[in-house]
């Protein structure tokens, strides 16, 4: 018996708060726990996972090692058809887990229709819709081609993509160029101006950037992200610092390599005018990082969180390529003038790869400029990040949060902790209109739905058995 009678009583109170009030009155040190029941999971899986604790911990350490050591660098650009693994001429990629045309949400259908017109596969929206419904285009998740796309995340064969390499493991990842805000393809808009912009991005922006990047050989994305966190970005909903840092690196190279002054000016102004230009690169950096922890047997670390506007899907390091899917929720958002929650589409986009990779909602405490999304005070932002440490396996060795005395960002979501503590990853996001063709209507935050995590936990248990 540890001699309780000879110790000073120190109490953790789990439940009725009045018991703690009484302790406070009697001068006893006590701590009230904010208790919630664990998420329900299969008893068998729970037992297996409990009994394999050591094995899982070792696997997770391995996964965290891969994540911490990953070094994503931008090494070049190419056309999707040429560089994406297993890309086909009649294949359109999309955000989130696999989905059929029938179940696609409005903005994703809109983006697919826009891509049909952009590729010249259809003359107008109506024809595009017919052809898409007929099954002549194959749909596949970006994530299954080492790629990520924000919002609808549509990547069609002739779209240019960035190529990012994890120099630690050598694996590649890909993402498109960011179009800017408002009426854009990724939010489901497909009007003529959207297509014209996409064509300009393919014909002018792409070759100009490609030449500039090639002249630089590589751009260290991890270092840009680390600095951006110190400059008030959380690198998902706020990318102003990241974009600025990228601009400082790339602008001289554009000037050095671009012979057409008109193109040069337009390209630089385009990047300069789009605070989110860096988003697609931070996403690709996170993808490259998290892919390095794929297929580590027994690991309970989440490697993918992605939404297609209908479903929310996740993958674990220890369960291979399997998706665990549940319905996507509506974000809690601030809306642009003229729009309300009734216009919002459920959560959409591969951009939750940033949260999976220790950024975005995980790093909310870095981004005081956007605390309006989480309650308006700096304390709210700190609270969000602090809570995320409860469900992550490590603190990042490179990404730091100044307001937490440079503590590393919460890194590596452990599905076991999500289940046990019933705390779900916190995601920052843009909000698309639910109808095709409209575009962005706001931005906000939400917690990931529980179901995919419960399914993943159960499957991990089965696999370990």
């Amino acid at each position: 018996m540890s001699n309780l009678f000879e110790q000073k009583l120190k109490v953790v109170n789990i439940g009725l708060e009045s018991f703690q009030d009484a302790l406070a009155q009697t001068g006893v040190e006590s701590l009230q726990m904010d208790w919630k029941p664990s998420l329900p999971v299969d008893l068998e899986s729970q037992k297996t996972i409990q009994s394999h604790k050591e094995k899982i911990e070792i696997a997770n350490e391995k996964a965290i090692h891969c994540i911490q050591n990953a070094k994503p660098v931008l090494i070049g650009m190419g056309k999707a058809l040429d560089v994406l693994p297993n890309m086909k001429k009649n294949m359109f990629l999309h955000a989130g887990p696999p989905i059929t045309w029938e179940r696609m949400c409005g903005p994703m259908k809109g983006a697919m229709m826009g891509a049909m017109i952009y590729e010249g596969y259809a003359q107008d929206a109506k024809e595009a819709e017919q052809k898409l419904a007929s099954g002549e285009i194959e749909f596949s998740p970006c994530h299954e081609h080492s790629a990520v796309g924000p919002m609808a995340g549509v990547i069609s064969p002739s779209m240019p993509v960035f190529i990012v390499k994890n120099t630690d493991k050598g694996n590649l990842s890909f993402s498109t160029q960011n179009e800017g805000l408002g009426k854009v393809l990724r939010y489901g808009a497909y009007s003529e101006d959207v297509i014209v912009r996409l064509k300009w991005m393919e014909e002018i922006l792409y070759p100009t950037l490609k030449a500039a990047i090639e002249s630089l050989k590589e751009i260290d994305l991890k270092s840009i992200i680390a600095q951006a966190l110190h400059m008030g970005d959380e690198v998902h909903n706020r990318n102003r610092a990241g974009t600025s840092l990228l601009y400082r690196i790339i602008a001289p190279a554009v000037i050095a390599t671009c012979e057409n002054k008109d193109h040069m000016v337009k390209v630089l102004n385009f990047i300069n005018g789009n605070d989110h230009f860096f988003l697609n690169l931070s996403m690709a950096a996170c993808k490259c990082t998290m892919d390095s922890a794929m297929n580590i047997e027994g690991s309970s670390i989440v490697t993918v969180m992605a939404r297609n506007g209908t479903d929310f899907g996740i993958k674990l390091a220890g369960t291979g390529s399997q998706w665990f899917v549940g319905p996507a929720d509506l974000p809690d958002a601030l809306f642009f003038p003229g729009f309300t929650k009734a216009d919002a589409n459920p959560d959409i986009g591969d951009s939750a790869i940033t949260e999976t990779g220790a950024l975005g909602g995980m790093a909310m405490a870095s981004a005081f400029a956007i605390v309006q999304f989480v309650g308006g005070t700096a304390a709210d932002a700190l609270r969000y990040t602090n809570e995320m440490y409860e469900i992550t396996a490590a603190e990042n060795n490179v990404y730091q949060i100044p307001s937490l005395d440079f503590k590393g960002t919460p890194t590596g979501i452990d599905v076991r902790l999500v289940i046990e503590k019933n705390i779900l990853p916190f995601i920052n996001t843009g909000v698309a209109h639910k109808d095709p063709g409209v575009g962005q209507v706001g931005a906000g935050v939400l917690s990931a739905p529980a179901l995919p995590f419960q399914k993943a936990f159960n499957e991990l248990g089965k696999k370990l058995k």
Binding site: F5, N13, I14, L16, E390, D405
Partner: protein, 501 residues
Amino acid sequence: MDTLGKIIKGKYFDSVSLMRVSKRIAEQEGIEDSSIVMGTHENKAILQTANLWLPLFEGTGDNDLLVAIKGKKAAEVITNVDAFLEELRPKAQAGVSAPRPKSLSKALELMPEANLAIISIAGKYAPLEVEKALDNKLHVMLFSDNVSLDDEIRLKKIAQSKGLLLMGPDCGTAIINGTPLAFANVVNRGNIGMVAASGTGLQEVSTLISNMGGGISQAIGTGGRDVKKEVGGIMFIEGIRLLAQDPQTEVICLVSKPPHPEVMKKIAEEVKIAGKPCVAIFLGANPKEVESFGIKAATTLFGAAQMAVELTGKRVEGFEENIVEMAKEIKAKIKPEQKYIRALFSGGTFASETQLIWQEYLSDIYSNAPTGSSLKLENNLISQKHSVVDLGEDEFTVGRPHPMIDFSMRVKQIKEEANNPEVAIILLDIVLGFGSNMDPLSEVKEVIQNNNKKVCFVASVTGTEADPQMRSKVVAGLREVGVYVLASNAQASELAAIALG
């Protein structure tokens, strides 16, 4: 002079932090110059200009930390660089008010020396949290009920194997190191140690001991099922063992319903090993049988308190109530058609005790929780003849706080009983202390005042002067509205029975 270098790969520090480390290095004795920078192109140039460039820095990049130290003691200081960098890491989250922990692991990070968990979450979730607490070497007071017997046994065995207390499930009261936990009273500290499988029983005996001038060393609750055959008295026996070892404890006092015979045997053995004087109130057990085990047997909670205090060598004075006189007074007030007593209790143990006392004076006793020769009420909500109603039973508490907190059900019942021409006396228990209603007078005074012409009110008040409600204040308030207030439930029950006997 030596210049030594070191590379730390894959760690990023901002330049301000690194300057602080640089300063730390420069402050060390025997150091002439130093630099600690990220391996960017610009920084490398600075190192070269400063004459601190070393061949080993070739091939490093932006995310590598380069350390160069020049001086006699360079070799020694360079080994401290990791520690200097570690100093930059946060000790605590400065300036951030700690959020409430959502998990035990987080709670223990914030309070690493915690030694007790009080758990009062819904019963179906409780076992998991109990197990976590035990795994983390915390003693546990488990207030929650609706925990299965299997879980109780399993968890108590875990606790036993780790040398930890698991008080409960359904443990409402304990006093550890002088601190009242959950529903408990502020009592004197002293040399009487208690183990109780009954919450109200523990409250009544501990407050009486305190009021009689004695004191409590420790009062360990076990939950009512501990003394059943299935659980086998695991924690009851553990409790006795602890009190035996506790130098503060000179007298042991046990409170419970009659333990299962097998458990009784084990208790007796443990008491013998303890070698300390022991008094027990096993409500409803044959005192002779208990005495045969070498344990002093009381027949009431009051009696147990008195015997325990006397065993410490103190005399108990001023607790004799003039019950015969008071009974005469009551008799004079009641009409011939007023034949029955209705006891409306918030404490389950009192319901048992009262029935056992009445059974010596009265017949036709009914209860929703019958003990001894009492009969079960046909309808728990409707009193019959002499009735003892435990308002803490499920039929009254579903969707409502415990009657020690919420008096509304009792007030309603008082009105009904008072307007029944057959009812002569209403017997009440008022339980004070933490957890209970903070102002019980305001709850019952009015309904008693409005009805004290129709029926007589008899009550006991369980509590001490040090309780937040202050016993004397509550007693005075009740007496103001004509209530016969006695020191204990046993005496109050006896008074009511004699008045009608």
